[in-house]
Symmetry: C2
């Protein structure tokens, strides 16, 4: 028996998120189905990040156990031939048998993309959030400074979450503009439910001038979801990668 | 009566090209339908470029005539509320009554995007051509030098074309890489049917080392479609813009 790790990229547009569910097609469901077909036995993957419906990934991570004689690094090719074209394995390799992508310490990096211009661009509509009103990237960048480090992020935790602690560590957060596209890049040691989308929704309000950058500290200190801005739409969010520490 | 000009952006994935046709949904067909609904009378647009099925645009141009009292610059907003989300007007304005987007002299700019890496990226699959084998951008760039200027581009003309002359002027052509994405940017005074896609298919063969860059001159001189490389897939091509001279 060996454990195989996969780096999984997907366009989340047509999926009800990562996690297998009885009603609705999910990325994990498609992955389990293709692996089970390939290996002729029921395979259940374990995923690192249960991304929401409509969220994309460049580098989610999953593992599964098999006694197949297929070498670990060959699974990428075999799976990509079976998977729908909006899911593509980027790397497969044998990992330690006790490696668990959710229980091992890791740093995840997300990007939230905002298309900030007068009219939407059709070819960007599935992978960014269109926002018409001009945004001040410097103010957004200034507001991020309050979020770096270890904090209670209760204000940035979606209502559906059931967690013991809302304390998390944000290791880096950057906001930059390339042409009409503004990217919010956030890295951290674990995230709360909808945390990046609520941070992004709040940064958009600050960038639009509804609040000054210092308001971010107040919001953080409130430890109350109602203090923060709206949850930005799923299509703008991409899980870029996960580094295991 | 006034003539209104539109700059039209679209994701060509789900369209049978620009031009209205009896069977199949087209960009022009959607535009005519929305304009006719808006104005309560049958409107026929005239388009600058009849892009093929699956080809995208950031800046195609169309005009229509109307005696509506809606100011030219307001049509962008009114149309964007009615159009499907994969078509978006970028600008509308009143133009000279004799302005014809196909008969006026113009320079068009196209980009052909090639995703050149080991495995496909799902979120790029609709807007680029995935090519796995490593491409040498410098060799591709070298090969483009033979194409600049006024030439008989018969070797780069699709079979369906019925044109009097295959002489065209390429004013600029550039090949550059950003990360895994290679872009071929071509500007010219009019293009033959499939010309940019055949140039791109030929440049890919040269980049892959199948032919040396100098082969491009031979191909051009042959004035024979069979001398050139394959027609690269539609999804990689975007009409970036049209400048009227």
């Amino acid at each position: 028996m060996k454990r195989v790790g996969l780096i999984v990229a997907y366009d989340g547009t047509n999926y009800c998120g990562w996690q297998t569910q009885p009603n609705g097609i999910t990325v994990q469901g498609e992955l389990n189905r293709c692996l089970s077909e390939l290996l002729g036995t029921e395979i259940e993957t374990i995923g690192a990040s249960r991304t929401d419906a409509g969220v994309h990934a460049m580098g989610n991570v999953a593992v599964f156990d098999t006694d197949s004689r297929i070498p670990g690094e060959k699974f990428s090719y075999a799976l990509n031939q079976r998977l729908p074209e909006d899911i593509r394995i980027q790397l497969s390799e044998e990992v330690e048998p006790d490696f668990h992508p959710r229980y091992c310490d890791s740093e995840k990096t997300y990007e939230y993309r905002i298309l900030n211009r007068r009219f939407p661009v059709p070819t960007e509509r599935l992978y960014s959030y269109f926002y018409h009103y001009p945004l001040d990237v410097e103010k957004m960048q200034e507001a991020t400074s309050y979020l770096i480090g270890r904090h209670d992020f209760a204000s940035f935790c979606g209502a559906k979450a059931q967690v013991k602690s809302t304390i998390r560590i944000v290791t880096g957060i950057d906001v930059f503009r390339e042409g009409d596209m503004i990217t919010i890049r956030v890295s951290g040691r674990g995230f709360l439910y909808n945390m990046v989308r609520i941070i992004s929704g709040t940064l958009i309000e600050i960038g639009a001038g509804q609040y000054p950058p210092e308001k971010m500290k107040e919001i953080l200190d409130a430890k109350n979801r109602e203090a923060a801005g709206p949850t930005a739409p799923a299509c703008g969010l991409t899980l870029m990668g996960i580094e295991f520490l």
